[in-house]
């Protein structure tokens, strides 16, 4: 893919998101409620951790500040997916309901068309929360802003790829929606715990089957003390998972059976 092509797709992504947001704003109250509700929700969670670390100041070298940093990176990176690529979480449902048709008729990469087809407005609240938590985490320096954004974007890409892989399994297993959803929740759940709690076999799982480590532990490590090894590890994981995601999706697409349910674009 050439640079000009990538720029074209990025511009289009922005335009489609604008439409999605406009669509959500049709219902003003619900829109505001979603955005601010999420900020309040996250603050509540942070408060729980605050109380926890007051009682137990450290878990294997991690304290409240590291946990805040973790929340900052992972909330921001999954918010990026939820804002810009939320359609990826609907792949399974689209397959089952035969809704891929619309996107297959557009003259663009179909995985892109699906991924940008939806926006979760409440993620705007998550995004802002991620930034705020990072600012107050104690790791906020000029250099770290750059690293924070960089690792946030790479984690978002890894996160997205994993979602696409699991959701696309629906092409083979039929109604896979709830499994795919559980996987996403598991990934999110494991991401939001101080990563040093995972030891032994569990730690291996976090690097392999549920690769939450690349979205949480490694990024935090990078912000705490930047090193190229970790950065390359993250980039490599992002590239590998991207290739797998595309393989699984496009191989599965040949098995797509469509359907005749009545569909609308919400």
């Amino acid at each position: 893919m050439s640079i000009s092509m990538a720029v074209k797709y990025l511009k289009l992504t922005w335009l489609v998101q604008k439409i999605n947001i406009m669509s959500a704003m049709e219902y003003r109250l619900s829109f505001l409620y979603q955005v601010f509700g999420m900020i309040i929700n996250n603050t509540g969670l942070m408060f729980v951790w605050y109380i926890f670390f007051k009682k137990f100041p450290e878990i294997n070298g991690w304290g409240f500040h590291e946990t805040m940093l973790l929340y900052g990176v992972s909330t921001m990176s999954f918010a990026l997916v939820w804002i810009f690529l939320f359609g990826s979480l609907w792949i399974s449902s689209y397959i089952v309901k035969g809704q891929l048709d619309n996107y297959l008729l557009q003259p663009k990469n179909v995985l892109w068309s699906i991924s940008v087809s939806r926006t979760d407005i409440s993620a705007v609240g998550d995004f802002s929360f991620g930034i705020i938590v990072f600012i107050v985490s104690g790791y906020f320096t000029l250099g770290n802003i750059f690293i924070f954004l960089l690792v946030g974007i790479i984690s978002a890409i890894i996160f997205y790829n994993l979602i696409v892989i699991v959701q696309s399994l629906t092409f083979w297993f039929g109604n896979f929606e709830s499994v795919a959803e559980d996987f996403t929740n598991a990934l999110l759940g494991f991401t939001l715990y101080p990563q040093t709690v995972y030891r032994g076999a569990l730690q291996i799982i976090m690097y392999t089957i549920i690769p939450a480590a690349y979205i949480s532990l490694v990024p935090v490590r990078l912000i705490k003390n930047f090193n190229f090894l970790d950065l390359f590890l993250m980039i490599a994981v992002a590239i590998i998972t991207f290739i797998i995601a595309n393989l699984v999706f496009f191989k599965g697409l040949k098995r797509y059976e469509s359907g005749n349910l009545i569909n609308v674009k919400m």
Partner: protein
């Protein structure tokens, strides 16, 4: 030049079978049973530039499956397709710039937004030149009379209004072929007529090839130059629509409701299908006699309360086709 070429096209689906009830559900988890369904069996046809092809058949005949393979949505199980010289399953994206499609049961427009917003986005997705797009849009707005609808959220449009807006969306990028899958489904008579008129207009004005599926023989009668009838995944008729009408839409069903008792009905070409004291169902052979004469006769002889006139249904046409192939 053939703009669509289809050769020995096949599509099979594997469908899970399940006995009814809880026990059946349990069995289908442990030992799933599959049934192979031949949705499309070995069909071959082609279309020329500027033609309107009516692709008809009863529900489940394979119409939608075929149209989805032609547009690149479904991968064929076997056989060859070329649309505008391209293989849809391999060149889906580049083909999409040159074709338009409207699926009666699937909306391309954003449900909560006015059509105008969707159009503006499509213009960017199809990479249309901005001034050419605006000119095109205003022309389409006039032709489809949707000026008043542009700022209304799609969810508030009637089905007929929405369908006109959908067709406009599919014409923005000046496609060479338009695929319409059941464009008149669920519409009332007037809305149906409007849709038919604009389809015809664009075919004549811009020489757009039109591939239309329907289970309404009326659509075909009004529009198609050529008719292809598909049933159980096989083509059972492929010829001009005139030929089709002459052979298979030979009769109309007429129902009369009267306030006085119907006695001694006798009209040349009219066959009584069923009769009660105050109603009568007649099949009229349109080659032998005309509808207006029948109506004259009816009004003269009875006190008419109500009249229904209808075309033979798809099922009746199919039966007629089978009868003919068996005898001829």
């Amino acid at each position: 030049m053939n703009i669509i070429e289809v050769e020995n096209l096949q599509k099979t689906f594997k469908t899970k079978q399940k006995e009814s009830g809880f026990k059946g559900g349990f069995q289908s988890v442990l030992k799933p049973q599959y049934k192979i369904i031949d949705a499309v069996k070995n069909i071959t046809f082609s279309a020329k530039k500027g033609e309107i092809i009516g692709f008809i058949g009863p529900n489940g005949a394979g119409k939608s499956t075929t149209i989805k393979m032609l547009t690149g949505i479904l991968f064929p199980t076997s056989g060859h397709i070329k649309v505008l010289g391209k293989v849809p399953s391999e060149n889906r994206q580049s083909l999409a710039y040159e074709i338009g499609s409207v699926f009666g049961q699937k909306s391309q427009l954003w449900f909560h937004l006015p059509p105008q917003d969707s159009y503006n986005l499509f213009a960017r997705i199809y990479e249309l030149d901005q001034s050419a797009y605006l000119e095109r849009l205003s022309f389409l707005i006039d032709s489809f009379e949707i000026g008043d609808l542009l700022k209304t959220p799609v969810r508030k449009l009637s089905l007929g209004q929405r369908m006109r807006c959908e067709i406009v969306a599919s014409l923005l990028h000046r496609p060479k072929i338009i695929f319409l899958d059941e464009p008149t489904i669920g519409l009332d008579v007037i809305a149906k007529q409007q849709i038919r008129d604009v389809i015809k207009y664009f075919n004549e004005k811009e020489d757009v090839t039109i591939f239309l599926t329907s289970h309404d023989a009326g659509d075909i009668e009004a529009l198609a130059h050529r008719t292809i009838v598909i049933n159980f995944g096989e083509i059972v008729f492929d010829d001009s629509t005139d030929q089709f009408k002459k052979n298979y839409i030979k009769s109309k069903a007429i129902e009369l409701f009267t306030s006085n008792e119907i006695k001694n009905f006798d009209f040349h070409g009219g066959k009584i299908l069923s009769q009660t004291k105050f109603s009568l169902k007649i099949e009229l052979d349109t080659a032998a006699n005309s509808i207006d004469k029948l109506l004259d006769y009816a009004i003269k002889n009875y006190d008419i309360k109500d009249i229904n006139i209808s075309d033979p249904s798809m099922e009746e046409i199919i039966t007629a086709i089978y009868k003919e192939t068996r005898h001829g």
